[in-house]
């Protein structure tokens, strides 16, 4: 029997992981009998064992349960982040690319302004403005992503608008809006979806970073970034408190990146 190539294995594993995560978001209780927020204080800082697969934290809460329930919080939040960036960014980018001229110049300038402000500083400021919490952190991360989306969409719209079939559609009597809606935007979709999935993984990392810096959900909410942040104080005595949430972030980011590659480049042309 021939062993399938590495890329196939990794892709299958990515989808499998994503499916598992979706199930965790849908019904976390299916995966663990422990509570994510209430622990038995006497059982604190226990190393991984049969009873607690990933060990327990400083208050005796099950780390595995916290990761499961954390998925329930982090993954939808990342979705909100990407949706924010996608909707605003794609809107601005499409407008700039399609309208051209002065509108394009102004919007491009605006995007340059957004890009010139460090993304994390921007996110932190917005979290302070909106108030702390996972959802607000997600929106802040999403706002930080607007410029990136807008640039890509603008480029795509400009490129596709210059294509012959768009000119042909105009020649067939289509209006400006009609061409944009029926031809330009649908043809941007593939790269846009691919970019969104890629951005999803960065959003997870960014939201976790905000959580790490203390701008995420209030305690005792199980948030991956927050778990790593809290766990790092116990690194010398309880390695499991950082290692497992860290691996969770890494694996999800890796899986979504892998999947986004298939969307952008379905034939695997890049080998």
């Amino acid at each position: 029997m021939k062993i399938p190539p590495l890329s196939q294995i990794s892709l299958a594993a990515s989808w499998l992981l994503l499916g598992l995560l979706l199930a965790m978001v849908a019904d976390p209780a299916l995966f663990t009998r422990y509570s994510a927020t209430a622990g038995a204080a006497v059982e604190h800082l226990r190393a991984p064992s049969g009873a607690h697969w990933f060990g327990t934290d400083q208050l005796g809460r099950d780390v595995f349960a916290r990761i499961i329930y954390g998925a329930n919080r982090t993954l939808p939040a990342a979705l909100i982040a990407v949706a924010t960036g996608l909707l605003a960014g794609a809107g601005i980018g499409a407008l700039a690319g399609a309208a051209g001229g002065r509108v394009d110049a102004v919007l491009t300038g605006l995007m340059d302004v957004l890009m010139s402000i460090p993304e994390l500083l921007m996110s932190l400021t917005i979290v302070i403005l909106l108030g702390f919490g996972t959802i607000h952190a997600a929106i802040a991360v999403g706002i930080g992503q607007i410029a990136g989306f807008a640039r890509i969409v603008r480029g795509d719209v400009t490129r596709i608008s210059a294509m012959t079939f768009v000119e042909a559609a105009r020649g067939g009597g289509a209006t400006f809006a009609g061409v944009l809606w029926r031809h330009v935007l649908p043809n941007c979709m593939t790269s846009l979806i691919g970019l969104s999935v890629l951005r999803y993984s960065t959003a997870i990392l960014s939201i976790a970073t905000l959580g790490f810096l203390g701008y995420g959900a209030p305690p005792p909410a199980p948030e991956w970034g927050l778990m790593i942040s809290e766990g790092r104080d116990y690194l010398a005595t309880a390695w499991w408190m950082t290692t497992f949430p860290g691996l969770a972030v890494l694996l999800v980011a890796l899986a979504t990146t892998r999947i986004s590659r298939t969307i952008v480049d379905p034939a695997g042309k890049r080998r």
Partner: protein, 553 residues
Amino acid sequence: MSPSNFRLRPDAPAAPAMGPVLDVKDLRISYSARTVVHGVSFQAARGETTAVIGESGSGKSTIARAIIGLLPQGAHLESGTITLAGDTLTRRPSHEFDGIRGRRIGFVPQDPSNSLDPVATIGAHVGEMFRLHTTLSRAETRERVLALLDRVGLSDPVLRFSQYPHELSGGMRQRVLIAGAIALNPDLIVADEPTSALDVTVQRQILDLLDGLRAEHGTSILLITHDLAIAKDRARDTIVLRSGRIEEQDDTAKIFAAPRADYTKRLIADLPVFAPRPPPADIPAADAADAVVVSNLRVAYPTGRHQTRLAVDSVSFRVRAGTTHAIVGESGSGKTTILRCLTGLIMPDAGTILIEGEDIAHARGPARRAMLRHIQLVYQNPWASLDPRQSVRQIIEEPLRNFAIDSPAGRRARVEAMLDRVHLPRTLLDRRPAEMSGGQCQRVALARALVIEPRILVLDEVVSALDVTVQARVLDLLAELRRDLGLTYIFVSHDLAVVRQIADTLSVIRHGRQVERGPADTLFDAPAEPYTKLLLAAIPGQGNAAPVQLQET
């Protein structure tokens, strides 16, 4: 310095004086599970040109890549041997082949525009041959390179040496590539469609150059081409490929005189230059109304802050309803600009374009859009002009929706009728462009243009991207449509052989100026202008007439 001075091949094995320079035996190549070359065997005679002809998908390029040992990713040599002057090339380790490529096999690629490294100078490009295979000093290399540039007919080699590819025209770039290919005097030059991306006059010159080099150095040439006419003019032997199999291989003259394979017969019959000009079908009365009147059209492009260049200068012609007017010119002549003006995509700086009496050149907004119902444009590249995400049905229906013609049910009927009209099966209705052949796509594009019943079609090189047999069928369809629907065509092309098949009147354009215009018969039979004569002489397939003056192009 004479070219013979760099016949240096100190390490070259003494090639057997007799026998073929290239011997391909039972070559079988596959892409994963799909075999694309099925046991092909042929030979190329020393010092001669051997043509391999075939349409797209015939496997001719794959064979060329196999000979130079650079099969594309995924391609797999299943069996067979390739022998070059007695040395077996197949199954050699990669690093060994590196010493053979360039030194013993030269390669001339298809598309000169992308075949030169854009950030390297011309001198670096040709000089790379010496850098890779000899120990010549920089100064010696430079001398050799300058001599080579001179040999391939480039003016001012010293200037060219330090120029970059984008500063050269397509023809000049192809000369540079040829200079590289012959630099080390190889046994064989593999030329993969060396002229298909070039203008007809340039094509002629490049082929003359290759012929000259062959005659001078005794280099053998394997000419891979889709163009039978070129094979007829240039090759001693011809191999006809189809779907990875050899249909026929023989002396070129014999093949053209008495083709044996049906496929070869059809190919030859479909070649415009050999096809008889169809009798002009019921030419409309001389007093028929003018469908299009272009007068004193002028378009300028800005080239700098305050400079402009005239892309089109004082072009005038009129097209009677129901006839075909051809605009002929080489690349950069401004013919595309003219047709973009005709469909209102560009506003001219001066002049008028009357479409059935209305001036489209200065129409705007709704007025222009309304005129689009009468004049439609069909593009050169059938795949590029169709939205890859739309189905055939959506593509053809879209103009109807744009102009709010008919009910949804009525539109569906019109789309289906239109599909019949262009001889496409209705099973294609739900296909997407990527799932169809070029000919099918071009028919869909025609259907889309015709579905809103325009009276004038502007056809921009509509058959240039198609294989010969497909080209012939589309031309037949165009003639049929014109006859049945009473259409007026404006047919833009660089290919005079095709134009001869379809045009009633024509304009010859060069550098934005109208060189000559008049009835097709007059221009083809008795051209007045030297440029028109040059164009006519350059049509391949007329036998190797007197060489066209070798000028830098």
